[in-house]
C-alpha cells in the first residue's frame, strides 16, 4: 500500500537524520521540561530558605526564630541561623532572604524606643523574598500593636530585666495581674472576631469534586496539546517542501493518488506527534502528574495526534508556499491554544469565550485530559471528546486530500 510505503520512508528519514529528529522533538519537550521544573511537585513542596542573623540573641528574638520554624510556617520556611557571613551568602544567592535582628532590639522594644528589623531580599528571585518581606512586616505590626497596648506592662518587664538579681514574687505577681486585667479589658474588642474567614469547596453536578493535583497537572495537558500542534506543524512542513521541490508531482506519476500521499503523511505525522505527546506525558509523570487510566490516556493521545495532523495537513494543502503555511499554522495554533485552555484553565475563562473554545480541537483535548486528571474520569467519560477529535481529524484529512488532488490536477501546484 502506497500510504505505508510513504510512512516507512518518512520514518527512515527521521532515523537517518537524528539531529533533525531531535530538534523536531526539542520544542515541546523543552516547554514541558521547563514547566515541570518550575511548577513540578505542586505548591505544597515549595520551601523558602531564610537566613536569620540574630545579633540580639535575646528571648524575644529567639521566640521569633522559633515561631518561624514551627507549625505550617515551618513546612514552608527553612530558617537557617547565621552570623554576619549571611550577607556573603546572600551575595552568592544561597537564600531567598536574610532577616537581621539588630543588637538591642528587645531592649528597645521593651523600652518603647523605635527599632528596626532588616530584610535583605535576593534580587534573582521574584516571589519568595516578597513572602518573607510580608511575613516580617506582619510580625513587626503585631509587635508594634503589642507595644502600644501593653506599654505599662512592657516597661515593667524592662525594669525587671534591667534590675540586678531575680525579680521579687510580688513584682512578678503584679505584672501577671496587670497583663491579665489588660487582656480582660481587650476581650470584648478582640474576641470573638467580627469577621471570620471560612473556605468552602463547591462540588457541582457537572464537574464533580476537583482533586488537589498541583499546578503542573492543571497546565501541562494544555501545554502538551499545544506542543503537539507545533510538532505537527514541523512534521507537515514536508508537504510544502515536497511540493516546491517537485517531489510530490513525481510521486503522483507512480501508482499513488493524492489521498494515498496524504494518508501516508498523516500516518507519519501521527507517529511523530503521538511519540512527542507520549514523551511529554512521561516528563509530566516523572514530575508527579497522574495522567489517569493508561488506556484512556493512550486513546486521547492518539485522537489528539490525529486531529492535530488532519488540521495541519489541511492547512498545508490549502496554502501556496512554505512561508504562508508557517504563518497561518502558527496563528491557528496560538489562537486555538489560547481559546482552548492551554494557557488558562477552561473554567477560568470569561463566559463569552467559552462557546468559541468549543470550536477548537485544543478544547476537546484539554477538556478530556481535565476529566481524566482533575476529576478522576475514565475512558467512558471522554468518549464524546474522542469522537470529536477522531471525526475532525478524519474530515480534515479527507478534505485536505480532496483539495490537494484538485489543485494538482488543475496545475495550481
Amino acid at each position: 500500500m502506497a500510504a505505508l510505503a510513504i510512512l516507512r520512508r518518512d520514518l527512515k528519514r527521521y532515523l537517518r537524520n537524528p539531529l533533525r529528529t531531535a530538534l523536531l522533538f526539542s520544542l515541546p519537550l523543552v516547554m514541558a521540561a521547563i514547566f515541570a521544573v518550575v511548577f513540578g511537585g505542586g505548591v505544597d513542596e515549595i520551601s523558602i530558605k531564610v537566613l536569620l542573623w540574630d545579633e540580639d540573641e535575646s528571648l524575644l528574638s529567639m521566640l521569633a526564630g522559633g515561631a518561624a520554624n514551627s507549625g505550617e510556617a515551618g513546612q514552608q520556611l527553612d530558617v537557617v541561623p547565621v552570623g554576619d557571613e549571611g550577607l556573603a551568602m546572600m551575595d552568592r544567592g544561597e537564600a531567598s532572604a536574610l532577616v537581621h535582628i539588630p543588637s538591642g532590639f528587645t531592649d528597645d522594644f521593651l523600652a518603647g524606643r523605635k527599632t528596626t528589623i532588616d530584610v535583605v531580599k535576593n534580587p534573582a528571585e521574584r516571589f519568595l523574598p516578597l513572602i518573607v518581606e510580608e511575613g516580617a512586616g506582619i510580625g513587626g505590626s503585631v509587635l508594634s500593636a503589642a507595644s502600644r497596648v501593653f506599654r505599662p506592662e512592657l516597661e515593667q518587664i524592662h525594669g525587671l530585666m534591667s534590675a540586678e538579681g531575680f525579680p521579687s514574687d510580688l513584682a512578678v505577681a503584679g505584672l501577671s495581674s496587670g497583663v491579665n486585667s489588660r487582656l480582660n479589658g481587650l476581650q470584648e474588642i478582640i474576641f470573638p472576631p467580627i469577621i471570620t474567614l471560612e473556605t468552602v469547596t463547591v462540588a457541582t453536578e457537572d464537574i464533580g469534586e476537583v482533586e488537589d493535583v498541583g499546578i503542573l497537572a492543571i497546565f501541562l495537558p494544555g501545554l502538551a496539546v499545544m506542543g503537539t500542534l507545533f510538532l505537527a506543524q514541523s512534521a507537515t512542513r514536508d508537504i510544502l517542501r515536497d511540493r516546491e521541490a517537485g517531489l510530490l508531482r513525481h510521486l503522483l506519476t507512480a501508482p499513488v493518488s493524492p489521498g494515498d500521499y496524504l494518508l501516508g503523511k498523516c500516518l507519519s505525522v501521527i507517529m511523530v506527534t503521538a511519540a512527542g505527546f507520549a514523551l511529554m506525558t512521561v516528563v509530566g509523570a516523572a514530575m508527579g502528574v497522574s495522567w489517569g487510566p493508561p488506556v484512556a490516556t493512550a486513546a486521547l493521545i492518539l485522537a489528539t495526534a490525529l486531529a492535530a495532523s488532519g488540521t495541519l495537513l489541511l492547512i498545508m494543502s490549502l496554502v501556496g508556499s512554505e512561508r504562508q503555511g508557517d504563518t497561518l499554522t502558527t496563528i491557528v495554533i496560538i489562537v486555538w491554544s489560547m481559546l482552548g485552555g492551554a494557557f488558562m484553565p477552561l473554567d477560568q475563562m470569561p463566559g463569552f469565550l467559552r462557546p468559541l473554545s468549543t470550536s477548537t480541537l485544543v478544547f476537546w483535548s484539554t477538556d478530556a485530559f481535565n476529566t481524566l486528571i482533575l476529576h478522576g474520569g475514565g475512558l467512558a467519560d471522554i468518549l464524546p471528546n474522542l469522537g470529536v477529535l477522531f471525526a475532525a481529524g478524519a474530515v480534515f484529512l479527507g478534505t485536505g486530500a480532496f483539495v490537494l488532488g484538485r489543485r494538482i490536477r488543475r496545475g495550481a501546484i
Binding site: A5, G246, L247, R249, L251, R409, G411
Partner: protein, 309 residues
C-alpha cells in the same frame, strides 16, 4: 503505443498546449523538441496523469490514464525535469521507496536496485546520502527511479539539463539501451543535438503547437532548404532589408537585432551562386555563417527564431 489526441491545456488566458496530436509507436524513441515554455512539460504532465487536460485524451495501450490511473501508471516510468529525490536518504533508500510504490519488495527489489545503480555507474555510492552527490550523479539517480520497475513506457522530461558532458553521454547511452530492449521512450528536450542523435522521430513544438513531425531526414526535407545563411550587419535599416529580399534563390526567414537569416532554396541556384551576390550587394555585412540543414535550421525555417531564443 501512446496516443495523444487533440490534447489541450490552458492557464487562464494562456494556452499552454493547443490541440496537439501525435502517436508514439512501440519501441521507438520519440522526441519532443522545443524551446523553454513551448509546452513540453505540460504535455508530459498530462500524459503521465498528473495534470488534467482541458480537452483531448491520452491513450496508453488504448487505456485512458484518467479512467484507470493506477493500472496505467504501473506501465509508466517518469523521469522529471526536477531532481526528485530525497537528499537526506541514501541512493538505495530512495530506490527502495520508489520500488515499493510499484509493489517490488524483498530480494527482487534488492536485485533491481543493484542492477539499475550499476547501469548508471552509481553502484559504489548506493549507501551514500544523496546530498553528497554531484549534480550529474543526482540526475543519474533520477533516471534510475524511472527505470527501476522496468516500465513499458519511459517518459523523460529534459533529463540532461545542467549536467556535465560525461554524465549526459551516460544518460543518453542508458536510454538507447532501454529502447533497444523494447521500451517505448518519449523524450523532451531543447537540445537539438540530443534529439538528432537519439530520436527515431521528432515533433517540434512551440507555443503549445506541433509545428512539424517526422524523422530527422523528413524534417530537414520539409524545411525545403539546402543551407541557412546567418548574416551580421545593419539590418535595422529597412532599405537594406528590401535589397536583401530582392536576391533570387534565397528566402528570408527573419531579421534580428543586427542580423538576418536566409534559407537557400533546394530548387534554386545554390549557395555558391547566391553567396557572392549577397556579399556584392553592398549591405554592410560584417560576418557570414553557413549552417548545414539540421533541426536548428528547421526550427528557424518554421518559426523565424533560433531554438535558443
Amino acid at each position: 503505443m501512446i496516443r495523444i489526441d487533440r490534447l489541450r491545456k490552458c492557464y487562464d488566458a494562456l494556452v499552454a498546449v493547443d490541440d496537439i496530436s501525435f502517436d508514439v509507436h512501440d519501441g521507438e524513441i520519440f522526441g519532443l523538441l522545443g524551446p523553454n515554455g513551448a509546452g513540453k512539460t505540460t504535455t508530459i504532465s498530462m500524459i503521465c496523469g498528473v495534470l488534467q487536460p482541458d480537452g483531448g485524451r491520452v491513450l496508453i495501450d488504448e487505456r485512458n490514464i484518467w479512467v484507470e490511473p493506477k493500472k496505467v501508471k504501473r506501465d509508466l516510468g517518469v523521469v522529471p525535469q526536477e531532481i526528485a529525490v530525497y537528499e537526506d536518504l541514501t541512493a538505495r533508500d530512495n530506490l527502495s521507496f520508489w520500488g515499493s510504490l510499484y509493489g517490488l519488495s524483498g530480494t527482487e527489489l534488492t536485485h533491481r536496485i543493484d542492477e539499475t545503480l550499476s547501469r548508471v555507474g552509481l553502484a559504489e555510492r548506493a549507501g551514500d546520502k544523496v546530498k553528497t552527490f554531484s549534480g550529474g550523479m543526482k540526475r543519474r539517480l533520477n533516471l534510475c527511479m524511472g527505470l527501476l520497475h522496468r516500465p513499458k513506457f519511459l517518459l523523460l522530461d529534459e533529463p540532461t539539463v545542467g549536467i556535465d558532458p560525461q554524465a549526459r553521454l551516460n544518460i543518453l547511452e542508458v536510454i538507447r539501451e532501454v529502447a533497444a530492449a523494447g521500451t517505448t521512450v518519449l523524450y523532451t528536450t531543447h537540445y537539438m543535438d540530443e534529439a538528432e542523435q537519439l530520436c527515431d522521430r521528432i515533433a517540434i513544438i512551440d507555443h503549445g503547437r506541433i509545428l512539424a513531425l517526422g524523422t530527422l531526414a523528413e524534417l530537414t526535407r520539409r524545411a525545403g532548404e539546402a543551407e541557412v545563411l546567418r548574416l551580421t550587419g545593419p539590418f535595422a535599416d529597412e532599405s537594406l532589408r528590401e535589397r536583401l529580399a530582392c536576391i533570387p534563390g534565397a528566402r528570408i526567414l527573419g531579421f534580428g537585432d543586427g542580423s538576418a537569416v536566409l534559407a537557400i532554396e533546394l530548387d534554386g541556384p545554390g549557395l555558391l551562386e547566391i553567396l557572392p551576390r549577397v556579399l556584392e550587394a553592398d549591405l554592410g555585412i560584417e560576418d557570414v555563417s553557413i549552417q548545414r540543414p539540421n533541426l536548428q535550421s528547421v526550427f528557424i525555417a518554421l518559426t523565424g527564431r533560433d531554438l535558443r531564443d
